[in-house]
């Protein structure tokens, strides 16, 4: 009983704070999405699912989020793998290199990318120099530009959880595998990769969920077809002042993210069972 009381003392204030700053506004958003004029209705939702604009944007949001998440995983996993192998001192130094871009403002980075990726930007200038003839790879104001900007932002969010699960692997497993004569690729696929999967799942989930709410990068680096749900929310909130629709999109987005989170949670629990038995 006293333990329960203690817990309440520690957790209570934060819970109350979160309740105020998250649940109350969230409730208001849900209420706004269902309240047209003076009555309750699902009009905003039915209108959204009939709208070409919304359906296309929803699809684009999925596409971009999943691609960006997988792209960051491909780039971030080797980084985490390397960080896990070096000594603790070196790791601390390399970690700074991961953290600096992570701390840089997303707006600053997006504007920097327009200079780098432009028609006569640094990358194209370099490619032209390599090829010996003018090269103009379109990298800006299209899907590629959005991908570069987003993966740049998301890589640290892959490195941290994957590194954590790599570091948690028992060293003696590697030694045992080596003694039994396993070659490095086999060790990677039989030990490292499976045991890092919880970190991978966490990374994929958090990057996908984060991508779904991206706003600045698609607006600055994307083309006309790279409109994401948050850009649509902005359009309904500030341009047409239709908060009914904007709230409905917000609720749908929240729903999708919740389902994704619950799904990954299940997956993780399911994956954890046989592994513990094997170890």
């Amino acid at each position: 009983m006293t333990q329960k009381k203690d817990a309440l003392l520690y957790v209570g204030p934060a819970t109350l704070f979160l309740f105020l700053v998250i649940l109350v506004p969230l409730g208001f958003v849900a209420w706004t999405s269902l309240h047209t004029g003076d009555s309750w209705s699902f009009a905003a939702y039915t209108q959204l699912f009939e709208s070409v604009l919304f359906r296309r944007t929803l699809w684009t949001t999925f596409e971009i989020s999943i691609l960006a998440s997988l792209g960051s995983l491909l780039l971030g996993y080797p980084v985490a793998l390397h960080l896990a192998r070096v000594s603790a001192r070196k790791r601390a130094i390399y970690m700074v290199l991961v953290l600096i871009p992570f701390w840089t403002s997303i707006l600053v980075k997006s504007f920097a990318f327009t200079v780098l990726l432009g028609r006569s930007g640094m990358v194209n200038t370099f490619l032209s120099w390599l090829a010996g003839s003018p090269v103009e790879v379109p990298m800006l104001f299209n899907r590629l530009g959005v991908m570069v900007g987003m993966t740049n932002y998301l890589v640290p969010f892959v490195v941290f959880p994957v590194l954590a699960s790599l570091l948690a692997i028992d060293r003696s497993l590697y030694q045992a595998a080596e003694i039994m004569g396993a070659k490095p690729p086999r060790i990677f696929f039989r030990i490292t990769l499976p045991l890092s999967l919880p970190g991978v799942a966490a990374a994929v989930l958090s990057t996908t969920v984060m991508s779904m709410g991206f706003f600045v990068i698609p607006a600055l680096l994307g083309g006309r077809q790279d409109v994401m749900l948050s850009n649509l929310v902005d359009f309904y909130t500030r341009e047409t002042l239709d908060w009914n629709m904007a709230s409905a999109i917000g609720v749908i987005l929240l729903g999708i993210v919740t389902i994704a989170a619950l799904g990954v949670d299940r997956l993780q629990k399911f994956g954890a069972r046989p592994r513990t038995a094997a170890v």
């Binding site: 296309r56 684009t60 006569s120 006309r224 409109v227 500030r238 047409t240």
Partner: protein, 353 residues
């Protein structure tokens, strides 16, 4: 009350104090803000940032504070969504709002502005009529810009802008229906004085033709010029004020003055503004010809006061368009107020396909 406080059951005490604190926590910000902003001699003006802010501060805010003894607080970026939130929750913190035409009329339709007394302004001196709740502040000039070093033989009209054979290169337009539909119709040969009501079908057909050649549909205004500076775009829709700033920074950016779109900027007072009397004084002050001229020396837009035009410095005056020129389109904000939502949505859908 005969019971001592200690006899109060603990749970009830916690409940009571908790709910008081909760109420205080929710209510405190509102009480605090409304109290401070209601203090005498204050005025909150929402205006645009950057150089614009400097202009408003020097030409209007400081002289106004000196003359009336009112402290003027400038806030950047007028956002109609925030106005809606303030008026809706009856927690108004802003007084004066500097607003673009279509946005202003939307606010007017929704009842976000205080009524204005027309006697405050010299209506004969203004380039556009004072509405029931907004006064025209100045006109801004939209057209297209290009790098004159890269393109010495530049396009002059919107028909040229659409002519990708004669003037090859990438274009940039705004990612919104207003302004973009007008220039599309100009390019398609609609005379400036027959622009409204807009022939939407015809405008989208004209836009279809240019679509493959548009490299960027711009959301952020600074990009309209910066993309030309970096050579990403050859011809971009932009405003005279942006080109003037680029030229002053030593760039070879030029502006086509032949066919322009003139949009109107308005001043309005928020409904329930805490410093309403000062706000009305500020509107009147901002519309005095000498103050208009002083502000336009900074902003290089076209003053709404005709008398002010002659008082503006000659080197600034060359950047101003004449709303009386029959080749220029003056944006019809009343039309946009009625059609903005539908046409905007259609424009977004069109852009995605």
């Amino acid at each position: 009350m005969s019971k001592p406080v200690t006899a109060l059951p603990r749970r009830r005490f916690l409940q009571a104090s908790g709910s008081t604190m909760l109420a205080a926590a929710i209510g405190a910000p509102m009480i605090l803000t409304s109290k401070t902003s209601r203090a005498a001699g204050r005025l909150v003006v929402v205006s645009w940032g950057g150089n614009y802010r400097v202009g408003v501060e020097e030409a209007l805010a400081k002289p106004f504070a000196k003359e009336f003894g009112v402290e003027v607080i400038l806030i950047d970026t007028p956002d109609l969504a925030k106005v809606k939130a303030q008026v809706m929750t009856k927690n108004v913190e802003w007084d004066v709002f500097d607003v673009v035409g279509p946005m202003g009329f939307t606010g007017s339709k929704n009842g976000y502005w205080e009524q204005l007394d027309p006697a405050l302004f010299d209506s004969k001196d203004l380039i556009a009529p004072v509405t029931k709740d907004m006064v025209p502040f100045y006109g801004f000039t939209g057209g297209f810009c290009y790098d004159s070093k890269k393109h010495p033989e530049a396009p002059k009209t919107w028909a040229d802008f659409w002519d990708v054979k004669k003037f090859p290169g990438r274009r940039a337009l705004r990612n919104r229906a207003s302004e973009t539909l007008e220039v599309a119709l100009l390019a398609d040969g609609v005379p400036a004085d027959k622009m409204y009501p807009l022939d939407i079908e015809r405008a989208f057909k004209a836009l279809d033709r240019l679509k493959p050649h548009v490299g960027k549909w711009v959301d952020q205004t600074p990009q309209t010029v910066s993309l030309v500076q970096t050579g990403e775009i050859d011809y971009s829709y932009t405003y005279t004020t942006r080109v003037k700033a680029a030229q002053e920074a030593g760039q070879t950016i030029d502006f086509a003055f032949d066919e322009n779109l003139i949009g109107l900027e308005y001043l309005a007072v928020l409904k329930g503004a805490p410093n309403k009397t000062n706000a009305m004084k500020f509107l009147q002050f901002a519309m005095r010809p000498e103050n208009q001229a002083a502000l336009m020396n900074h902003l290089a837009n076209t003053p709404a006061s005709k008398k002010a035009l002659e008082m503006v410095k000659p080197d600034v005056r060359k950047w101003m368009s004449n709303p009386g020129n029959p080749k220029h389109v003056v944006s019809n904000d009343m039309w946009w107020a009625d059609h903005y939502d539908d046409v905007s949505r259609r424009f977004k859908e069109w852009a995605l396909t």
